[in-house]
């Protein structure tokens, strides 16, 4: 596609429910990143996929968070048993990856998650 696409744009869920957030990266981009941004705050790194390599999961805040990337393209971030502190904007980005590390990442518009 023309840009990074994220869905849904907004999600309101009840505490304790599971949610899935989707990211469709730019075609041909082998690297995909997930970040979390709390209200007006910085970008917290969550997870990084690079091609077929094992993902860097070092930023996932708890075992309630998981992500997968199927076929090297679309990625899904899953949050189980959501808590109110999970409320944030979840941003996805993609780039050409480690074989072109001098290239910038492109961001989607984000999914605003609200846990009530």
């Amino acid at each position: 596609g023309a840009g990074v696409s994220q869905s849904p744009s907004n999600k309101v869920t009840e505490k304790g429910k599971d949610v899935e957030l989707r990211c469709d990266p730019i075609s041909g981009h082998t690297a995909l990143y997930w970040y979390r941004q709390s209200l007006g705050q910085g970008l917290e790194f969550l997870i990084y996929f690079q091609g077929n390599s094992a993902p860097d999961k070092s930023g996932l805040p708890s075992d309630r968070f998981s992500a997968e990337r199927t076929g090297g393209s679309v990625s899904t971030l899953t949050i189980q048993r959501t808590q109110q502190e999970d409320s944030a904007v979840y941003l996805c980005a993609s780039s050409l990856g480690q074989f072109a590390p001098n290239t910038e990442a492109f961001f989607g518009q984000g999914t605003r998650l609200t846990v009530v």
């Binding site: 705050q41 690079q50 990856g97 590390p101 001098n102």
Partner: protein
């Protein structure tokens, strides 16, 4: 471990004055450095990057940044600020030796007043 620091939460300047948004980094090798801007309720937009070569790089909307290896800094600058430049600015670093992981600073809010 690679890291980025933006020491100022907020920078206030008057329209027409020069602006500087500070960024320092830490990586094991030669860094790739980026600046992004986030306007209210919008996604992040790429502004400029330093890869190699000339220490002064120019980017979108009249912004530029100066790479200083000895001070491990990559400050964002603009000679004459506009009210429309008011936004949240992020510095980011990629260590080429760490498979492309991109790490961001905590962000600096730029407020340009008329």
């Amino acid at each position: 471990a690679q890291s980025v620091a933006q020491p100022e939460d907020q920078v206030n300047v008057a329209e027409g004055n020069p602006l500087t948004v500070k960024c320092t980094y830490s990586v094991s090798g030669n860094p790739y450095l980026f600046w992004y801007v986030q306007y209210p309720n919008r996604g992040l937009q790429f502004l400029l990057k330093y890869i190699t070569g000339d220490n002064l790089v120019k980017g979108s909307y009249g912004f530029e940044a100066e790479f200083n290896k000895s001070q491990t800094s990559f400050h964002l600058k603009k000679p004459s600020a506009l009210v429309s430049d008011s936004a949240l600015y992020f510095c980011a670093v990629r260590d080429p030796n760490r498979a492309g992981k991109l790490i961001f600073g905590q962000g600096t809010t730029l407020q340009v007043k008329p």
